[in-house]
Every structure is written in structure tokens, then in C-alpha cells.
């Protein structure tokens, strides 16, 4: 960028015939014309004169250099725009989507729950958990450590499109409060960066998961940084394939370090309290 930029005054000069009084010599030190703009101006004037003689080759070389510099500047602007998109625009997108998700959850939760259908025949298997369509809100996550306003809506699914909307619940893992492992993955950077500060959680910190009728309070039991292939952290009993779960756990995963895919940061928690909404806020949320 810098090199291309310093070529711009020269081009401008050659266009208007090398007028030494033309503005824009690019010198920031206006107070010292001799030291700052002197040598540049002399060189530029010389080139302008030669161009005036109409040498075809030089004109073409100039056009080529100009085209090239414009391309380079364009590339620089594109990279800058992309950076702005990643660091700022994606947050705007996510904030809008999260607002909408909050609204949708609010509406869905205020609707009376359909009365439990009395089974015609005695059930052998328990009722399957409600199936949430991919991309729809599942629950609201609250972590007092991350501030009072921290309340991202967890969506169902972890495809790229789902994760753009919010932290995603891995389908097939337990639902909030259920026995098993409620696994949620979220962006560490970009798209609202919901899990940006996951590394600040300490053992004992509360993670409150709000669903339609209750709050599930989990306590952080530990965290670690693992390689991305460690699927076993998402098992119903983390790291124990095939083990039958007896506890309700939560596992949050995100990328680590920030902006990298080399590792994953994993935070584990265990359900310690279930509060009906009719009984008010859980102690973890009122104390903070």
C-alpha cells in the first residue's frame, strides 16, 4: 500500500505536465519545503518532461505501473473491508439475529404448553425430548461471570449457518437439564463472539440455562484445551465411550487460541440446581 501510495503524486504530476506548483507532493512536513518535497519534485518534473516527448514505450510502462498500483490498492482495500466485515459486520448480523431469536423464544414460551397427552397404552419407553428445528432457539445461556447482560440464545445445530445465529447445541446430545451431556459450541471471535471470554470461567462459576419453564444452574467443574479431534469430550459421560450417564452435565466448546483452529477450549459443568420459573430467579442470578 505504502509503495503504491507514494507513486500517486508522480502520476498526477505527469498528467498535468509536471507543474511544480501542483498540490499533493505527499510531504507531510509543509514547513520544510527544501528538505521534504525538494528531491521528489525535481525527480517528478524530470519524468514529466520526458513523458511530454511522447515516447510510446514510456507511456505504456506508466499505464502498466498505474494499473498495477490500482490493483494493489484495490487488494489492500478488499483485505481491509474483509477485516471490517469479520470484526464488526458479523457482530451486527449476529446481534440482529439474536434479537429476533429472543423475541421468538419469548413468544414460544408465553404460549401455554400443550397438555401432556395421556398415553393410550402404558409407555415402556420414556417420551422423546421435543425436537427443535435446526437454527431455532433452544435455551438462553446466562453466565454471571460474563456480566448481567450476557444472555445469548442457544440454537439447535452446529452447522456454519446455525453458529452464525448463536452458540449451537449439538443435536443428539442431551437437552438442558436432562441426564447426559448438554453440549454447546460457539464462536470465540466474530458473529457476536458469544464464547469469546469462555477462558475466564473458573471452577464453581454458575452457568444458568433458561428454558420455557425453569432455570437449570450448572457449576463449572473444570476446563481444558484439547486438540480438535477429541470428540470424546462430547460423550454423555465425557471421555468414557459407552458409559451410561447418571449426571446432568454441560460442556461448552469453542476455538482456541482466538482466531485459530489448532485447539479447542472446553469447559465442563455439572447440574446443581433446578428452579421453576414460578419460584423466581435462581440464586446464581440474583446474587450477582
Amino acid at each position: 500500500m505504502g509503495r503504491a501510495g507514494s507513486g500517486a503524486p508522480a502520476q498526477r504530476q505527469s498528467l498535468d505536465g509536471g507543474d511544480p506548483s501542483a498540490p499533493g507532493d505527499g510531504s507531510p512536513s509543509g514547513g520544510e519545503p527544501e528538505a521534504g518535497g525538494g528531491p521528489l519534485r525535481r525527480r517528478v518534473r524530470g519524468r514529466g518532461r520526458e513523458g511530454g516527448h511522447g515516447r510510446e514505450r514510456r507511456i505504456w510502462a506508466g499505464r502498466l505501473a498505474r494499473g498495477l498500483s490500482e490493483l494493489l490498492i484495490t487488494a489492500g482495500v478488499l483485505v481491509g473491508l474483509f477485516l471490517g466485515y469479520q470484526l464488526w459486520v458479523t457482530d451486527l448480523f449476529a446481534a440482529r439475529t439474536q434479537d429476533r431469536l429472543h423475541h421468538q423464544l419469548e413468544q414460544a414460551w408465553s404460549r401455554p404448553t400443550p397438555p401432556a397427552v395421556a398415553p393410550a397404552a402404558p409407555r415402556v419407553t420414556p417420551l422423546p425430548p421435543p425436537v427443535v428445528p435446526l437454527g431455532d432457539g433452544v435455551a438462553i445461556l446466562r453466565v454471571p461471570r460474563l456480566g448481567r447482560d450476557y444472555a445469548p440464545v442457544v440454537v439447535q445445530g452446529v452447522s456454519a449457518a446455525d453458529l452464525r445465529r448463536g452458540p449451537g447445541h449439538i443435536p443428539g446430545t442431551a437437552m438442558p437439564g436432562q441426564v447426559g451431556n448438554f453440549v454447546v459450541s460457539g464462536h470465540r471471535t466474530t458473529y457476536g463472539k458469544p464464547f469469546n471470554r469462555l477462558d475466564e470461567l473458573r471452577v464453581g462459576d454458575a452457568i444458568v440455562v433458561e428454558v420455557q419453564d425453569r432455570y437449570y444452574t450448572y457449576r463449572v467443574s473444570g476446563s481444558e484445551v484439547v486438540t480438535p479431534n477429541r470428540v470424546d469430550v462430547t460423550y454423555p459421560v465425557p471421555k468414557h465411550a459407552g458409559a451410561t450417564p447418571t449426571k446432568s452435565l454441560i460442556t461448552l466448546t469453542t476455538c482456541h487460541p482466538k482466531f485459530s483452529a489448532s485447539h479447542r477450549l472446553v469447559v465442563y459443568g455439572e447440574l446443581v440446581d433446578t428452579t421453576e420459573k414460578s419460584a423466581g430467579l435462581p440464586s446464581a442470578l440474583t446474587a450477582g
Binding site: R66, L81, Q86, T253
Partner: protein, 52 residues
């Protein structure tokens, strides 16, 4: 390149800055909503789940 483009923009001399601004806006919108979301798929910071 840009000088050439600008000269070949439609519209009168006075309308051209507006046309250029609209064109620029169109390009930025295309980048933000189509190109960048496609490009970011190859970036590492979207990989937050296990097993990849």
C-alpha cells in the same frame, strides 16, 4: 483502470459521481452478503466444534 471506468460511466457529467457511488455501494453489498460469507468458510475461526 478506475479513471477509464469513470469515463465510461453512463450519465451526464453531474450524475456520474452519484452513479459511481451507487456502483461502489453495490460492490460493497455484494462483498458483505455474498463474497465474504463464502470466503470466511475457509477461515479457521469458525471451527468451534469437535471432530474436524
Amino acid at each position: 483502470m478506475y479513471a477509464w471506468l469513470y469515463r465510461h460511466l453512463p450519465g451526464s457529467r453531474r450524475a456520474r459521481p452519484l452513479v459511481a457511488a451507487l456502483l461502489l455501494l453495490g460492490v460493497v453489498v455484494l462483498l458483505m452478503f455474498v463474497v465474504f460469507p463464502a470466503v470466511e468458510a475457509v477461515l479457521p475461526n469458525g471451527r468451534v466444534t469437535m471432530g474436524s
